[in-house]
């Protein structure tokens, strides 16, 4: 106690004894600003009689999620649900749900998944189609004579999937704190998905910050966030078997005859199916044949013959049971259990992904929900992540015999050569010129 008093006297701040409020104007101001921003959330809805609302019942979902051991806290969840109401009203969304939360080093993102309105087109142009960009442009060095030209030809750009299909089936809105404005994420491109697979970066919490990584990521953090959301959704969005059925055009549609399943029976991986399409190696959900396009591009370079027809890439079917999921790093991909051991009658079935730590699903009666909260990164094995090695450097000059290094001749070799030459010298029938050259060579050696 005495020490503390002494320190306070020494530092002259008098922090612990004096009045406290007057010392922190900047922090207070930030808090007050946030409170002012959150105030409009608590206004009464204009039309409270509306029954058929696209608004999800976030508090109810969070109650079930809490049984699963995941949640964001009751008060915070309610604030989020008010923020979602604000979003639905301002954007006139047909249907949306709380997708989850992605933590970042300086801030986190609350993510809402929404369906596109019928016939809606995205205004954002496809960076791949615009020009050759989208990929990282090589630094433009002035061309100089005699210097080798890079042999690297970028692979043909895979076209983006149209909005409302495949990896772009839903649009996503994010905000960092309920009350702050919602930001719509741009649609994802296949190049971004493939690049996101080979990097392992944490989010910072600022959508505009660049993603500094190797291999380079095409886009900023908003694109990276969208790519990770697409990967997480494709990998971990699951539903009880029978809830969805395949429609005419191979799309999922809710099954009207679905009957609720006992939670105890849901504690089995074969009772769950994936209802989001798998993202292929190409970065799309449906395979795009690029061989035609590639042939056109490379005809001038005379490489068309070398191109081989790539076999069509096929992912697992929609509505494949989870029990068929591949095991990675020796870890079963899912953990499935009942939420309560003491009152199993009223428990819900809970599913937790081990490959995407933070991805959860629950099923209770006819209801189910998927929720993600975590750092947005995939589990990468017990040994940690190992980054991709850079490709071998291009040779600076053509290699030939004149540049190949040969070992220096030893004394014995020289002696042998001299003997051989002398022998030739003595032997008749040889040109004079030849001999002279040989002699010169000898002297050089």
């Amino acid at each position: 106690m005495l020490d503390e008093l002494l320190e306070e006297l020494r530092s002259g701040s008098g922090s612990r004894s004096g009045p406290r409020g007057d010392r922190e104007p900047p922090q207070r101001a930030a808090m007050e600003r946030l409170a002012e921003l959150q105030k409009p959330l608590f206004t009464k809805p204009e039309d409270p009689q509306e029954v058929d609302t696209p608004l999800p019942n976030v508090s109810k979902i969070s109650f079930y999620l809490e049984q699963a051991g995941v949640g964001l806290g009751q008060v915070e969840t309610f604030r989020i649900s008010l923020a979602i109401r604000q979003l639905v009203e301002s954007e006139a969304l047909p249907r949306c749900r709380l997708w989850g939360k992605i933590l970042g080093t300086r801030g986190s993102y609350i993510v809402v998944e929404a369906e596109y309105r019928d016939g809606e087109q995205d205004d954002e142009p496809d960076p791949e189609e615009e020009d050759d960009g989208g990929k990282v442009t090589l630094l433009a060095f002035p061309r100089q004579e005699g210097l080798p030209q890079p042999a690297y030809r970028p692979p043909p750009a895979v076209p983006r999937e149209a909005v409302g299909t495949g990896a772009n089936r839903f649009m996503y809105y994010v905000c960092s704190e309920p009350g702050l404005p919602w930001v719509k994420l741009p649609p994802v491109t296949p190049a971004q998905v493939t690049a996101a697979r080979s990097i392992y970066k944490l989010f910072t919490g600022n959508l505009d910050s660049p993603v500094v990584s190797y291999p380079p990521f095409p886009g900023n953090e908003a694109n990276y966030l969208r790519a990770q959301i697409a990967r997480i959704s494709a990998g971990t969005h699951v539903s009880p078997q029978g809830f969805y059925q395949l429609g005419e055009d191979e799309a999922c549609e809710p099954n009207p005859d679905f009957e609720d399943v006992q939670p105890a029976l849901m504690c089995d991986l074969s009772a769950w199916v994936h209802h989001m399409p798998h993202i292929l190696q190409q970065g799309r959900c449906t395979w795009a044949n690029l061989s035609g396009k590639r042939g056109d591009d490379s005809n001038e370079e005379g490489e068309a013959e070398e191109e081989e027809e790539e076999p069509e890439e096929m992912g697992p079917q929609l509505l494949t049971p989870l029990s068929l999921d591949a095991e990675m790093f020796g870890v079963p991909p899912w953990t499935c259990r009942l939420s309560s051991t003491l009152v199993p009658q009223h428990a819900v079935a809970v599913l937790r992904s081990n490959l995407w730590p933070g991805a959860h699903a629950y099923a209770s009666g006819k209801k189910f929900e998927n929720f993600y909260v975590g750092w947005g990164l995939k589990y990468c094995g017990g040994g940690g992540f190992s980054p991709q090695a850079p490709p071998p450097p291009q040779t600076e000059y053509p290699e030939g015999p004149e540049l190949a290094e040969v070992p220096d001749p030893s004394l014995e070799d020289e002696q042998a050569l001299r003997d051989a030459l002398e022998e030739r010298h003595l032997s008749p029938g040889l040109d004079e010129d030849d001999d002279e050259e040989d002699d010169e060579d000898d002297e050089d050696n």
Binding site: E24, A35, E66, L103, T335
Partner: protein
Amino acid sequence: MDSDLFCSAMEFVAGSGSVLTSEQKAAMQTSFVILKKNYKFERVLFWGKILGIKEDYFIVQGRGEDELKDRKNLYSFNCMDWFLLPPATESMINEVSKTAKGHFTGDPSFVYEQVGSESTEAVSKVNEEKRLAVSVHQIDEEVSVVPRGAFIRTPQGLVHINCSFSGLSESEAKKLDNFLHFSEPKNLKKKSILELAGRNLARDFLDALSDDVPEGSWSLQLESGGQVCVIRSLLWPGLTFFHVPMTLQHGHVYIGPGIKNLSLPFQL
């Protein structure tokens, strides 16, 4: 986190996404009282939860007279039947770090095996209970956090709760140097006398988080409308610390897979 704060504190750390069910919270509160009585602890803390493939381990820490040294850890699956974890020794840590990798299984008798290199041919075996003890010990050593001034070292060398601590101010709570590792200091001895000149012997006997390598292995944010200071470790993802400025409320909890993040250098 302290058992007295348990319910309110779980709400503060919920921003990381992990909560306990009402069933678990209720069982915990009963267990705290029983454990405190049976093991004669001065204080009982909810340490956290380690997620396993089959079962999760709930972990409670009991503290004796010396907050830093008199510690006992107990684990349970149902928050009711508790088992004492063996103290982690140097040899145990070496054994575990060589052998055990990946997720916990949820079975304390599960044996991890690692065949040694070709020359030695030795098979090292370690069971999961030992691994759990080592992981808990490592997390305590590397990432347990307290606000500066919350604990004092008495002239006898014992570490006690500082009764006159009234919380960090809001501006202090935004800086990482006001949060300390609650484990035996390692960096303090390396510091020059000049750096330690303004130090208060009773309070500043611990390492500050801001000295950690790599820089940026902590994420400090203000949550719940800027009213709670939350620190998350990136080295052990799952560890969340909270402190409500100007109050005594602080604590940390680990809810995660119990795996150290070896990929951190690539993530920043």
